[in-house]
């Protein structure tokens, strides 16, 4: 998929042929597509966080080594750990894989996290006194934020498209009123992740348990959702940008993110024909 991965693969040719190894690397990469940055709600592959994938050894019990990289040394260690440990889980689940090493590079907690991963020590075993319970609640909190942002994107698009619609009236907009497309699909996906209804008659503006708002609370709920969306889109692009600054060439691994994109985001993409996208 990327030059980096292919070079590494070819260099490592041993038991298998180059073609088989390429396929194996692609397999690993597809598995890693399922690992999300919990905060940005995007696959780590499309964010450019996968630095390299190496495959060696026997075809039915191969050894896989994955290196991850992040935008700064001081990215939250809890999320860094989550992504690294999820990566180890999904690669270990591939039937042809025997041994998996996942290492996080250049992070202030690299030594701690990598040792914890190697020993399968788990979250509490890795962080000791700094961990109190589990990271499940944290994951849920950010899944809810992702839903909030997706909901706001749909409603703001509606508001901009329909001058007759006012902020006070968005509380009655239903899923069936939304035009088909990327924004609506994203909302449906986030609703499914939270177990919220996805029928056409379902109200769009709801809290994370699916409850609509009384009419007088609708504008405030929309405004709160908007500030959440701005944060997520802002972070998603700032993190991408910092990764490109930190690791030259890493932009080639990054998937485009139309939500919150600005003119400057297209500098690193080729060909240079992209217009400014208005979220």
């Amino acid at each position: 998929m990327t030059a980096t991965l292919n070079e590494r693969t070819v260099r490592d040719v041993g038991v298998q042929g180059a073609g088989a190894r390429d396929a194996a690397v692609q397999d690993v990469r597809r598995a890693l597509d399922a690992v999300l940055d919990p905060e940005l709600d995007e696959p780590i592959t499309g964010l450019g966080f996968v630095r390299s994938i190496d495959v060696s050894g026997a075809a039915d019990r191969a050894a896989v080594t994955v290196h991850l990289r992040l935008p700064t040394s001081f990215c939250s260690p809890n999320f860094a750990y989550l992504m690294a440990s999820d990566s180890k889980d999904v690669v270990s689940a591939l039937p042809w894989v025997g041994k998996v090493v996942v290492e996080l590079d250049d992070h202030h907690d690299s030594a701690l996290i990598n040792a914890g991963l190697a020993a399968d020590a788990g979250y509490r075993g890795t962080f000791g006194h700094e961990a109190e319970d589990s990271l499940d609640e944290l994951r849920l909190m950010f899944r809810r934020k992702a839903h909030t942002a997706a909901m706001e994107r749909c409603l703001t698009e509606q508001l901009r498209a329909d001058p007759a619609l006012s902020e006070a009236n968005v509380g009655t907009v239903q899923l069936g009123d939304l035009p088909a497309g990327r924004t609506k699909n994203a909302l449906v996906r986030r609703r499914e992740a939270l177990g919220l209804p996805t029928a056409p008659a379902a109200v769009v503006l709801v809290d994370h348990e699916g409850r609509p708002y009384p009419a007088e609370q609708v504008p405030m709920a929309l405004r709160r959702a908007r500030s959440t969306r701005i944060s997520i889109d802002g972070n998603a692009h700032f993190c991408r940008g910092l990764l490109r600054t930190r690791y030259e060439g890493s932009g080639a691994d990054q998937a485009d993110r139309p939500e919150g994109a600005e003119a400057a985001d297209h500098r690193h993409l080729l060909p240079f024909t992209v217009k400014e996208i208005h979220p």
Binding site: H108, T148, T156, I230, G241, E262
Partner: protein, 348 residues
Amino acid sequence: MYSKDGENYFIVDAHIALWDARPENQRNVHGKQFIDCFYDYHRNLSPEEELWTYEEYLYQGGGRLMKDLFEDGYVDHAIFQPAYLGEFYKNGFGQTKEAYGLAAANPDKLTYNHCFDPRDGERGLDRLRADHEKMKFTGVKLYTAEWHGESRGYKLSDPWAFRYFEECRRLGIKNIHVHKGPTIRPLDRDSFDVSDVDHVASDFTDLNFIVEHVGLPRLEDFCWIATQEPNVYGGLAVAMPFMHTRPRYFAQILGELIYWIGEDRIFFSSDYALWTPRWLVERFVDFHIPEDMTEYAPITIEQKKKILGLNAAKMYNIAVPAELQLPDAGETATGPRQPERADLAGAA
């Protein structure tokens, strides 16, 4: 003072530092990682013509600071907000002695804020009293993600932090600047959580809490808290340079802040030496909310004047020429809400 199109802007840079990140001062690899992270912010968000070399970035010294701020940068007054980072740097990151000396020599131009760490316990309280006796500061900068032995962060709502705020109250230290970094214990919570600001702002209504970087990357939580607590303010350090690479993002940050907390509680900062104030001031005065963002009103000249200096000048009793002063705006549409209504939307 910055003047353009017949308008005069009094400039207060509310968050500056005099740091030393040179290799000889780095205690370990984290000292290098920390300044490298700052330098990547600088490289990523600066216009090309404003880029510094890595060597320039490691250390500036007082002479260069005075030139960048007061000769080239239009700044009328600036406020030191030191970060100690003693676990990363042998002699600390923020050079408190040098900064205090510079402020003492230029009292009309510089205000020195101090720092403390509540995990220093009773000893730290004694030290705070002694430091205050000597330096008479009215503000402090707290970095809650500071490492401290085995601990890698604290909360403003920790019992010892309360002891320190009580002492601040006694000593007349009124302005508490808070910065959130990503290594707060316990790790099972959101590392950038600003909810502890909510607690202390309710308990210490006579102190001002200025949340630096307007709570980014948790703008939504900051706005909500600041709406409920009239003594919570937002500092634009690190948010300002988004004007250049991400003007639409910056427009939305500004639009949200004005909507939620109003134009009187937002402070300009260059976050020197992360960036220099000159280009930030020039571009901010020229800045407009993009036309297609119909959810926000256009930003006015009066709002820019308040943000660029008048708001911080008022908090720090910095003298502003009478003809440049402006009256406060009315309450925001969101109003100061009562805590019992705080769970209203539950959208976040």
